[in-house]
Structures are given as C-alpha cells and as structure tokens.
C-alpha cells in the first residue's frame, strides 16, 4: 500500500504542477477549450484516484474544485481572476494535504469546510453571462449536488453501495434516465467533443515514454562509470602489451562504452522547462498582488541538462525571475509614463553551446539603480564612502551579489524570502557555472548564466605534484605552460608570492606542493603551470608533471575531507589507483581575489586600475626608503636587465627590449640607476609601446583593500594608503605613461590612453 501511495503522490504532484501552468495559460485565453479540457481532466483524475485510495478529504476538495472547473467548461461561470485564484488556492490546498499525507502515510485530521464552501459558493454563484433560463438550469444541476448537507462524494457512495445495499442498488441509481435531459447538457458535450478532437491531434508522447525510478538510472550511471574505469584499465594494459591481439575488441568495447555513457547521460537529462514549470504561476500571482502586467516569455524550454544540475539551478532561477518581476518590471502607470508598453516582459531563454548551457533572464524593467545600491552598500557597511566613490558603475552593480543585499524598499510577500543574489551566485558557482549581469537604467536587466551539462563524468587533466597524482577538471584549464630554464616563461618568486610572467600579464600562482603540504617546491627544475579561469579570475597552479587528459567519473569526496576546500571529489584511474579531484574554485580563493574583476569586461577600468576596491598590489622601493605600490594589473612584466644594456639617447635612458627601444623613467629625481649588475624594471605598456619604470627593489605582492588616506603630495602619486600596515605611496602609472609619451613618442594620432590599457 505504501508503494501505491508513493505512486499516487508522485503522479498527483506532477498533475498539480501541470494544473498550475495550464490554469495560468487558460486565464490568458479562456476561449481555449483544449486547455480547459485538460485542466478538467487532471482535476477529475485526482478526484477519481483519491476515491479509489480512500482519501475522503482530498477527494472532497478536488471534487469542489472540479465542480467550479465544470462550470467554466459549461460556460455557466465566467473565468475571472478571482475564480482562477480560488482554483489555484484549491490546488495549493491539495498540495498541502499531499505533503502531510506523504509525511504521515495517511490523511491528516482537519476541516476543509471554508475552502470547499468558497468553491461551492463560486460554483453556484449567479452566472454573469448566461441568460436567466439557463441560469436556472445551471442551478438545477448544481442544487442537488451542493446545497444539500454534505457532499455525496464517491467514497461515501462506495461505502453505501458496497457495505449496505447490495448489487441491485449499485446498478439502479445510475440508470440513464436519471441524467435528465438538461438544456446545459448540450454545451458540455460540444466542448467535450471539441476537446476530444484536439486531444486526438496531440503528439503521441505517452506511448513512447516510460517512467523509470531515478534510483534505477543513478545505479545504472554508477555501473557505467565502473565500465568506463575498467575500459581505461584495459586500455592501459593493452598499451603495455607487445601483442595487438586485444586491440580490435578493445576498440569496440571502448566505442560501445562511450555510447552507453552517452545514452545513460541522456537518460538523466531533463528539459530545463521542468525547472521553469512553477514560474508562470509565481509571476501571475505577483501580477495579481501588485497590479503589474508581465508577460513571461520562455524560449528553449526543451533544452536538456542533467537532472542533478537542474535541481541545483531550480531555486536560483526561480529567485531571479521573482526578482525581475518584483523589483525589475515597473507598474503599468510608471511604464506608460516612461513611454514603455504597460505590459512588461521577462524573457527566459536557454540554449546549448559547446558543452555548456546558457540561460538568459532578461527583463525590460527599470534596470538597477546604481545610486540606491551605493546607499545600500554604504548603509549595510559593505564598503566605505571612499571605496564606493572610487568604483565604476559596473562595480557598484556587483554589490547585489554581496551577502545580505537587497534593494527592495518594502519586502513584498513574493520577494524577500531570505535568499539573495549572493546565494544565487554561490549555487551557480558550486556547480562550476558563472553568472554575469548587465543592467541599463530604464531599459532593464539581463543575467547570463553559464553552467556545465553534467557533473557525473568530466574531462580532467591528470597531473602530479610531490609524487602524488591529481585530477583537475579541464573545463577551467585555459592553457598549459612549461616553466623552466629552457622555455620563455619563468616563475618569479617575490617573497612568498609566486607570479608567472605570461605574455602581457602577471599571473598569480599557487603551488600545489605548498598548498597540500607535499614538500618544498623544487625551484630549479622544470615545472608546469596550469593557467586556470574560474569565473572571471585567472590564476595559475604550479605542478610537477602533467600526464594525460582522461574522462573521469566523479565520486563524492569522503566525509573526512569534506571540509577541505581544495578537493571536489575523487576518482579511480585506469591503473586502479584512487586519486583526488582538485576543486578549481577552492584553489582560486587561495590564489587571492577570487572575484576581482581583472578580466577584459572592465571597459571603464583605467590603466592604473584606479577603481579597484580590492586588488593585488606590487610593493617596491624606488628613490627613497619608503614603500611604494602599484597595481599588479597595470604591470606587464617585472624585468631585470643588465646595467650595461642601458643606453643614453638624447640625455635619456633607453634599453633595447623585444626589438623595440624602451624608454626608462625614474620614479623621482632622487633615484639613480645601478652601475653594475642587474637593474630591476617594471614594464608597462602604452598601445604597444613598452615603458620601463626604474625601481630599486621589488619587495612583495599583497592583496589589499585600497583606501586612499592622504591626497597626493607630488605628481605621479595617486595618494598614500595603508598597505600591509605600512604607509605606502600609491604610484599613478598613468602619469608616467603620459610623461613617457610626451617626451618620447611623437605620434599625435595615437588613440586616447583610456582605450589602450593592457593591450600590447
């Protein structure tokens, strides 16, 4: 019986979800008899099933709901928002009863009288559009069913028939004559026929699909994973074997395994529309409550993704659509005044692209209000006034992703349920996804979410550090750099912070050996740097060796290691050994500035990165004992050149650098070039023209909140700040670049500096 109850709960919950969606559709187009036919049938089935299972409470609620729907169908009751709201409440009530039924295994005690009373009142209410004669007829039908004491629900009938009255009676009361010919009876028949005709045209889906328990598929997936592992093992053996005897069957096995894996992965796929099913209802309720008019447009609802991923994004998506409806779209009056159509639009769009799913949530509402966000951030202590003043508009908007942030002045019953955009972002990043936002005042806000298709089997690089092997999900790996004496790339270690000079950038590094305490770094041998991209943040991981890319099966991390942020799980390799899967997210946090904006998105960011709230700073000394700092972002490279290579041209210092003449600049007049040995330089770039800033000593790289404490005392300084507990002059690179340009570069056609930046 328990299994039967489970089946009932699953089926009925699905029906209720469909009912929600269909009702909202129906409310919009109440002339669509096909939708109404479907709605009626679903409610009817729920009622019928409850009857069979002996669930009188559920049955009577469903029965009352069905009757109102019947009145809709028969044209006896106009389809008003109130009426639809009442039906939706009825559905909610059924859902509530189902939850209690599921928990307790039997129907809870309670009284559904008030709701049933309302439904019945609605059903027997004076029909608006029907002529008096028909109205009387409608009453005649309704009266015996509803206005007598109690409800002749089927369960009671069953009890009577089965226990007391015997066979004859069971047959008698339902003889055809009792269904007296009613004037209204013609209409339902027509509707029913129309509905049937439409039904016949529906694509035949039921016949070609079956329902399978999720556990069965999960189990299958585990087994497939084992086959994948065994195949990998066999391939390894074959590789070491002198003979080719197994080659052909192995290839075949490999092929079949891949197809199996594809097949089962596809089996786990569900259309993203499943996660959207509740949204029309949520938006509809919000519209009714707030008097807004909103169209929810769904595109690509059949885009499929792994159900595990689907579960993870369900809540974030719901929250974001709710946000758009609640905070984004304005009320009709405001919209009309702004010259926009009264009905706002929220677009939900999903598509596949290269192993990822892209989801776009766009509204045409008021856009984010940067001023209000500033105030809010200030009020909530998320940043100081100075920090906020230094931020670009785009960075200010990013505050909505901070914990505990909400711009809604009043919390409506629809939004403000405790989760914010910070939770949304955390959830999305947890499954290896990323979220971006774009907002224009008066035009609306767009969120773009990128998530992986599946989490179960991932392509990973197998690598080694300190004699241990690890797997690293390939999705985050941008490139692989060999760093050592024989290659161009070199790992610089400045105090404890390691950076890689890679083309135009300095890349923060973490060493796997150090992080996982696998022993000291072997600085003098060739190492590899895996350049990673997590969200918008790029960093490098130093490893000893890199083997191969392999399809690995992700097994959950053991409980004892769950607190460790560096591991995402473990897997079994082809040779049978168990290795850990590294979590790029955890490592990126360690590499610092997990969420800084050092990517190319910062259009407005100046060369000096003036408006970074938190940034990596390079500390150095030049022309004096006091510390100076410069944004790490602004530096192309740290170079050391031979003192002898510095030449003088027209009284100024230059050095040959990458087939170009690079001007050298002093930080101030007190500074001297070294006379022998090596001269450290910071290399900047102005539209492809390298410029060298002479420094005495590079001290450290630190992660710091920049808050200028003192105004600049001289040209070339942004001001002074406390960095790592010491007063530090913040050097304005822009000044030196402009100085260099004025003195060295005569090309007046050169584009403005702001557009130049880090390009080379």
């Amino acid at each position: 019986m328990d299994e039967l109850l489970n089946e009932f709960l699953t089926e009925t919950n699905e029906s209720l979800a469909t009912l929600d969606t269909e009702l909202v559709r129906f409310e919009r187009d109440s002339s669509d008899t096909r939708i109404l036919g479907n709605i009626f049938r679903l409610m009817h089935t729920i009622k019928g099933t409850c009857g069979f299972l002996g669930l009188p409470r559920l049955e009577s609620v469903a029965h009352a709901g069905e009757n109102v729907l019947g009145k809709f169908r028969d044209g006896d009751l106009p389809v008003t928002p109130d009426a639809v709201t009442l039906i939706l409440r009825c559905i909610d009530h059924i859902r509530l009863l189902l939850v209690e039924l599921g928990a307790a295994g039997r129907e809870p005690e309670g009284d559904d009288g008030p709701l049933i009373g309302e439904l019945n009142a609605m059903a027997s209410g004076e029909p608006v559009a029907v002529p008096p004669a028909d109205a009387a007829a409608a009453h005649a039908i309704a009266a015996p069913i509803f206005e007598e004491d109690g409800f002749p629900v089927a369960a009671e009938l069953l009890a009577e028939v089965a226990e007391a009255l015997g066979p004859q009676v069971a047959a008698q009361p339902v003889s055809p004559q009792r269904s007296q010919p009613q004037p209204a009876a013609e209409l339902p028949r027509q509707v029913a026929e129309a509905a049937r005709d439409n039904n016949a045209k529906e694509p035949d889906q039921a016949a070609s699909s079956i329902r399978v328990n999720v556990d069965v598929i999960e189990n299958l997936m585990t087994l497939i994973s084992e086959i994948v592992l065994t195949r990998n093992q066999l391939m390894q053996i074959q590789r070491n074997l002198k003979s080719d005897a197994f080659k052909v069957p192995l290839q075949r096995l490999s092929h079949i395994t891949s197809e199996l894996q594809d097949g089962v992965t596809r089996m786990r796929m569900q259309p993203i529309g499943n996660a959207w099913a509740k949204l029309p209802r949520i938006v509809r309720d919000l519209c009714v409550e707030s008097g807004k008019k909103i169209d929810l447009v769904q595109r690509g609802a059949d885009t499929e993704l792994d159900r595990q991923v689907l579960e993870m994004i369900k809540d974030p998506l719901t929250h974001m659509v709710r946000n758009s409806a609640d905070h984004g779209v304005e009320d009709p009056v405001t919209r009309r005044d702004a010259g926009k159509p009264e009905t706002g639009t929220i677009l939900l769009e999903a598509c596949h692209e290269g192993g990822h799913i892209f989801i776009r949530i766009a509204d045409d509402g008021r856009g984010l209000d940067a001023d209000r966000i500033r105030q809010k951030a200030l009020a909530n202590g998320l940043a100081t006034e100075a920090e906020i003043a230094a931020m670009s508009e785009k960075q200010v908007l990013q505050f909505i992703f901070q914990p505990g942030f909400s711009t809604a002045e009043k919390v409506t019953s629809v939004s403000g349920r405790g989760v914010g955009m910070d939770v949304v972002r955390t959830n999305i990043e947890r499954i290896g996804g990323a979220i971006e936002m774009d907002s224009r005042p008066g035009e609306g806000t767009t969120f773009l979410i990128k998530i992986p298709l599946t989490l179960a089997i991932v392509s990973a690089l197998i690598l080694e550090a300190g004699g241990e092997r690890f797997a690293l999900p390939q999705i985050n790996v941008v490139e692989l750099v060999r760093a050592g004496s024989r290659s161009g790339a070199r790992i610089e270690t400045i105090r404890d912070a390691a950076v890689l000079r890679l083309r135009e950038r300095l890349l923060p590094l973490v060493s796997l050996r150090t992080v996982l305490e696998l022993g000291p770094d072997e600085v003098d041998r060739d190492r590899f740097v895996l350049v990673m991209e997590v969200g918008a943040f790029k960093f490098g991981i130093i490893v000893d060796r890199v083997f191969d890319a392999e399809e690995i099966v992700v097994k959950p991390v053991a409980p004892i290691l769950r607190g460790n942020p560096f591991y995402a799980g473990n897997t079994i390799l082809g040779d049978g050994s168990v290795i850990m899967i590294l979590d790029p997210g955890g490592l990126s946090a360690l590499a610092g500035q997990a969420h800084s904006n050092n990517d190319g998105l910062q259009v407005a960011g100046s060369v000096a990165g003036r408006d970074e709230s938190e940034a990596s700073l390079l500390l150095f000394r030049a022309g004096g004992p006091e510390l100076k700092a410069v944004m790490l972002d602004a530096i192309l490279r740290i170079e050391e050149i031979d003192a002898g290579a510095i030449e003088q041209v027209g009284g100024r210092h230059v050095v040959q650098y990458r087939q170009k003449l690079m001007p050298l600049m002093m930080v101030n007049g007190d500074q001297r070039l070294v006379e022998t040995g090596r001269q450290p330089l910071l290399v900047f770039c102005d539209n492809g023209q390298p410029l060298g800033l002479v420094v005495d000593e590079v001290v450290d790289i630190v992660q710091n909140h920049i808050s200028l404490e003192l105004a600049p005392r001289q040209d070339g300084l942004l001001g002074s700040a406390i960095v790592a507990g010491k007063a530090t002059d913040l050097v304005d690179i822009r000044h030196y670049i402009e100085y260099g340009r004025d003195n060295w570069i005569r090309d007046e056609e050169r584009p403005r500096l702001a557009a130049g930046g880090r390009h080379g």
Partner: protein
C-alpha cells in the same frame, strides 16, 4: 477454463493498480494501459476478454477508444465496461450507444465489481 485476460485502461497509475489487484484476485490475467491509444494497441495484439475503460484520459479518451475498438476487425470483440464517475452519469447513455457492455461507477470496490461481472457472466 483458461485464465481470462482483463485490460485496465486508466490514466491514473494508482487506480490501474487497485483495479488490477481486484482482477488478479479474481483469477484474471491483467494488462494495463494509460491511454486509449495504448489500449487499442494492446487489443490489436493481446485479445483481452474484458476491458475496463476509463473515460477521461489524455491522447485518446475512453469514448474515442471504444468507438475505434468496436470498428476494429477483431476475431472476438472484448467485453467493455465503461468506468465513469457520478458526475458523468449523463454520458453513460453515450457510452452504451457507442458499444459499451456495462458501466461501473468509480470508485468501486470488489463486491460491486463482482456483481457487475456476474451480470456479464464473467465472474
């Protein structure tokens, strides 16, 4: 006597299971179908003796299924019992005209079912 076969047609899985249970107790072999379309497919191949046919179903409803079934060139037409609810009494006539042998009102218990089957000579 060889086992009789019953085909239970209903879009609700719990109902199918309950009804199937009753028929199994009565010594029937039982098949189930969630839609009228599936029911027709089964009848074409499976030769059931009796069909318990629900009215409200997606894809193809009970009356559509019944009409199509009766026009199928089968060696032996099954007995069809139309399952309806009290609110559909008006349609029973329609079902009988379309070729149903009996009707039964949902929900029904084992006793009512046995009575119906006795009337049909199929208990």
């Amino acid at each position: 006597m060889a086992d009789r076969t019953c085909l239970v047609v209903d879009d609700s899985a719990p109902i199918r299971r309950v009804v199937s249970g009753m028929f199994l107790d009565l010594g029937y072999a039982v098949a189930e179908a969630p839609t009228g379309k599936d029911a027709l497919d089964y009848c074409r191949a499976g030769q059931p003796d009796i069909v318990m046919l629900d009215w409200n179903m997606p894809v193809m409803d009970g009356i559509g299924c019944l009409t199509a079934l009766r026009s199928m060139p089968l060696p032996r037409q099954p007995v069809v019992v139309m399952c309806t609810t009290e609110s559909q009494i008006a349609r029973i006539q329609q079902a009988l005209s379309a070729g149903a042998d009996e009707y039964i009102i949902k929900p029904f218990g084992r006793d009512v079912l046995v009575d119906k089957l006795e009337q049909l000579g199929m208990a």
